[in-house]
């Protein structure tokens, strides 16, 4: 628990710092740079216009994937956030073109921290109403219940202990009332903490658990095991899921794996919200073949696709319809790297890690995943749109010989093999490396290619390809398994802050042994751990960027893992749609800003 709490502390402190200082931030630190390989005319969500849309019309969205958890108390997935941002109002939110600047949403303004950062007071915005059948005005009590219910096992929020453990009574709560969460009056929310971690708790308030929930309506649904509130939930944003008069959504506004329908929330008051909400209705069709639905979107009218298009469709869009293609480079997109075991086995030797880095043809790995349209060759660890990216080396990355040849360089690899104590330039140890990869395409091809690279360096390997979730939960996330190489791991931060990018995957103090470890390389270098601890306390976007850029360089120096891809997320739309993507949410379409021509 200590480690988990540290994750949250550091990540949220960083997020808060960025948020508070965002107005004065320089583009060098947080702005999005031009990504390589993106065709001209393609939409960039970091620089898009948020105004001037035409009001009215019905947007038809298609997606192969289904949603996971639409309940704001549980939501933790890109597609769920897409719906949540149109239907729910968190205390604080991101506008679509930023991953750093936070805007008060359900909150009237910035939070007040007092009592040595142990008391948080937030004024709730007046005039916001719940959708039918609740209909009444949102009050601070609804925020209290929303926060209380995250500790309810029936709701099973996946992150609350990490972010809210310092709230009085939260750790022992099974769903409220929680002593540290109170409504002082109708519009004032107060949180009391046992430790001075106010900034961190405030930072977490961009997450959907802060969307208000009416207790008198939701409690009977939350009493079910598991909670059934998701099937009856009400909205506070400009849209709501279509429901019957009793508020039932399941089978009406949402048919799992089939469709979802958003209609205007009749109780939404535009004067209380920053979202323009141009569209009248959004129909989401779930399922279908990516090749077919991609063509329907490109050739059709008033359509968008909310998950990544199939490779042939992406190519077609880039070549013939660039204005219908959005590519989000950096921001809420993630990275991919080859995790090598820094704590056990041959790769404890830094020179062997450098040899593997040098030998890996990172361009080839990127091509296996779709090439320059959907990825940039990763040369270090912070990415575009995150403070410190340019300071850490920008797109070219640090100038070290094992990083300078993205196509791989066996001569450099041989040099480091010799430095590692293998004069022939090939590994001669007796161990057989355990390599565990993802069995689904294209990740399996990446794993095979990495396996070949290991063999070319003389390693004996045993490659085990398993289902994606099994890879994490049974092998790469389990410290005791002592996996040597995990070629298919990657990271997406919850916040647009360098600490959120680097801390959890590379801080040795955050390695957890309960089978849910996210430091897949078991990176545990005392010097780096200490530097992270110090950098977590730095305040100010520029200063934080610089501090974490230094850590980035140390991670490169130690070659803690082999980075190969900064992901770019592509989305397509019909030509008569003015699509606005969510830079903070990997570029997914923002229904509250998108409009029709």
């Amino acid at each position: 628990m200590r480690s988990l709490r540290t994750i949250v502390l550091t990540a949220l402190a960083a997020a808060l710092t960025v948020a508070l200082a965002a107005c004065g931030s320089s583009k060098k630190s947080t702005g999005a740079s031009a990504s390589s390989g993106t065709p001209a005319g393609v939409i960039n969500p970091a620089t898009e216009s948020l105004t001037g849309g035409k009001r009215g019309g019905v947007l038809n969205d298609v997606q192969s994937e289904d949603f996971e958890h639409l309940d704001p108390g549980v939501a933790y997935f890109q597609l769920d956030y897409e719906i949540g941002s149109a239907t729910q109002r968190n205390l604080y939110s991101y506008k679509p073109n930023t991953f750093s600047e936070v805007t008060p949403d359900m909150a009237e303004g910035p939070p007040q921290l007092s009592n040595g950062n142990k008391t948080i007071t937030i004024k709730i915005r007046k005039g916001v109403h719940f959708s039918p059948p609740v209909n009444r005005e949102v009050t601070a009590a609804d925020e209290v219940y929303a926060i209380d219910r995250v500790a309810d096992p029936n709701v099973a929020n996946p992150y609350y202990l990490g972010y809210l453990a310092s709230v009085e009574g939260m750790k022992s709560s099974k769903g409220g009332p929680i002593p540290g969460v109170k409504a002082l009056d109708k519009y004032t929310l107060q949180l009391k903490l046992t430790e001075p971690q106010g900034p961190i708790v405030v930072g977490s308030m961009v997450l959907p658990y802060t969307a208000p929930v009416p207790e008198e309506y939701a409690k009977k649904f939350d009493a079910k095991k598991p909670s059934e509130y998701v099937n009856y939930m009400v909205a506070t944003g400009p849209y709501m899921l279509k429901a019957n008069s009793a508020g039932k959504i399941l089978g009406i506004g949402y048919q799992p794996g089939k469709s979802l329908t958003l209609v205007r929330n009749p109780n939404w008051n535009a004067s209380t919200d920053f979202r323009p909400a141009y569209l009248d209705q959004i129909n989401v069709s779930i399922g279908g073949d990516s090749n077919v639905i991609g063509r329907q979107v490109l050739e059709g009218s008033h359509m968008t696709q909310s998950d990544a298009p199939a490779a042939p469709i992406l190519k077609l869009a880039a070549q013939q319809h660039p204005s219908q293609l959005l590519i989000s480079a950096g921001g809420g997109a993630g990275d991919r790297y080859i995790a090598v075991n820094n704590s056990d086995g041959p790769f404890r030797n830094v020179n062997l890690r450098k040899a593997l880095w040098a030998a890996t043809d990172r361009e080839a790995l990127d091509k296996l995943r779709g090439g320059k349209l959907v990825s940039d060759v990763m040369t270090h660890f912070l990415w575009n749109g995150i403070a410190g990216f340019e300071e850490a080396g920008g797109y070219p990355g640090p100038k070290v010989d094992y990083n300078e040849h993205p196509q791989g360089d066996m001569a450099v690899a041989e040099k480091y093999m010799k430095l590692a104590g293998y004069p022939s330039g090939k590994y001669t140890g007796s161990e057989t490396l355990q390599v565990v990869g993802d069995s689904s395409a294209p990740a399996n091809n990446v794993a095979e290619a990495v396996n070949q690279t290991l063999k070319s360096l003389g390693f004996k390997t045993k490659l085990n390809l398993v289902e994606h979730t099994v890879m994490y939960s049974k092998y790469c996330g389990v410290v005791s398994e002592k996996i040597d190489v995990c070629p298919n791991v990657g990271w997406i931060p919850d916040f647009g802050d360098p600490q959120a990018v680097l801390d959890v995957p590379f801080n040795g103090n955050l390695i957890v042994k309960n089978g849910t470890n996210s430091n897949w390389g078991l990176v545990n270098h005392a010097k780096i751990n200490a530097a992270m601890e110090a950098a977590s306390k730095v305040v100010g976007v520029q200063a934080r960027g610089e501090a974490w850029a230094k850590i980035d360089r140390e991670l490169v120096e130690e070659a803690v893992v082999v980075p190969y891809q900064w992901a770019k997320e592509p989305y397509i739309k019909s030509k008569d749609v003015v699509g606005v993507g969510q830079f903070w949410n990997a570029g997914t379409w923002d229904y509250a800003y998108t409009s029709l021509k």
């Binding site: 598991p226 089978g251 399922g287 077919v292 059709g300």
Partner: protein
């Protein structure tokens, strides 16, 4: 008069004997059906047990950890495990599962949407039934017609062309065929805009005309491969049957050739087709995922596919059990139909 009385008595006696014999057959059939139904239930229990064990023992992801998300703590995982009953012993979980299944027809809840699996299945059933039974009608009519014509003109150019086409259709994967017909004939992305394309499916009760139009292409794709197989099957069977003595006798009696073929030839030759038809329909009801995906038809196959990709075990268990149930029932129906169609078949 006496003779007439005598004949009348004999006829009544024969009638009574026939009735006794008919009752005996009926009783035998009833016993047979009951026995098959009991075996079906037993088989279903075995399938349910195997499914339960498979999802617990094969290397799958821990549902509690999946449900917990990325920033996990042991407490959260333990709470989720408790909520879903995963913290109980395996026998206790199994007993609860079987009790819910057979006493309450409760298949559990989706790990993700929290929706009852039973509701999801019933919600998807109409789409899958529409697809499969419509497709079956197309493939039976087409397959039988082509097969009979080919059998009657065996060795002709028409026969060779039909059988070659059948071979091509059998070899064409449904997924590929679906994409091809969409790119050729779909109203939105096709080169010739004729039929509604993918995602156009609506329920029968919502709009019967649109329902029918939206299923034309999927029916053709579903039917293509099976029709080809059935055509080859009926052709071979009919050619063999038409060489039988009783066919020669029928012809010798002066019956028209059409009657000989349809009433005497096809009736006997159709038995193998009936056997595979039931099983094919059963299998397709549980595994129409490819056609449902290509044409974006929200059926059971696609529900199962999405559940597999999410490791949503209750849904996977529910859909597989449903498929098993359908196949078992289809087999029983086929066996019964077989007995009625072929008087030579006797069950003891």
């Amino acid at each position: 008069m006496q003779l007439r009385i005598k004949l009348g008595r004999e006829a009544r006696g024969a009638l009574a004997k026939d009735r006794t014999s008919g009752d005996a057959v009926s009783q035998t059939m009833t016993r047979y059906i009951i026995r098959r139904l009991l075996w079906g239930v037993l088989l279903l229990i075995v399938v349910a047990a195997l499914l339960f064990l498979m999802f617990r023992y094969l290397p799958t992801a821990d549902p509690a950890k999946l449900r917990a998300g990325r920033l996990q703590s042991p407490q959260i995982i333990a709470e989720i495990r408790h909520t879903y009953g995963l913290d109980k012993s395996l026998p206790a979980q199994f007993w609860l599962y079987m009790k819910n299944l057979f006493l309450h027809f409760n298949l559990g809840y989706s790990y993700y949407s929290n929706a009852p699996v039973k509701e999801l299945l019933f919600n998807r059933l109409p789409a899958t039934l529409s697809l499969v039974f419509g497709g079956a009608i197309v493939w039976v009519i087409t397959g039988l017609s082509v097969g009979i014509i080919s059998a009657r003109r065996a060795g002709s150019r028409l026969d060779r062309a039909s059988m070659s086409s059948a071979l091509v259709l059998v070899s064409a994967p449904e997924y590929w065929l679906g994409l091809i017909v969409l790119y050729l004939f779909a109203a939105d992305i096709g080169r010739v805009h004729i039929f509604p394309g993918a995602g156009s499916y609506v329920g029968l009760t919502y709009d019967p005309v649109k329902w029918f139009e939206s299923l034309i292409l999927p029916w053709l794709v579903v039917a293509a491969g099976s029709a080809a197989i059935y055509a080859r099957l009926i052709r071979g069977s009919l050619i063999e049957t038409m060489g039988e003595d009783y066919i020669r006798t029928a012809r010798a009696k002066g019956l028209p050739e059409r009657t000989v073929v349809l009433r005497h030839g096809v009736r006997a030759a159709i038995n193998p087709v009936v056997t595979v038809l039931g099983v094919d329909i059963g299998v397709l009801l549980g595994s129409s995922v490819l056609v449902e995906t290509v044409f974006n038809i929200p059926g059971i196959g696609r529900l199962n596919y999405i559940a597999i990709t999410h490791a949503d075990f209750p849904i996977v268990q529910g859909t597989v059990l449903f498929a098993a149930l359908v196949i078992i029932v289809a087999n029983i129906i086929v066996d019964i139909a077989y007995a009625y169609l072929d008087p030579r078949v006797r069950y003891s």
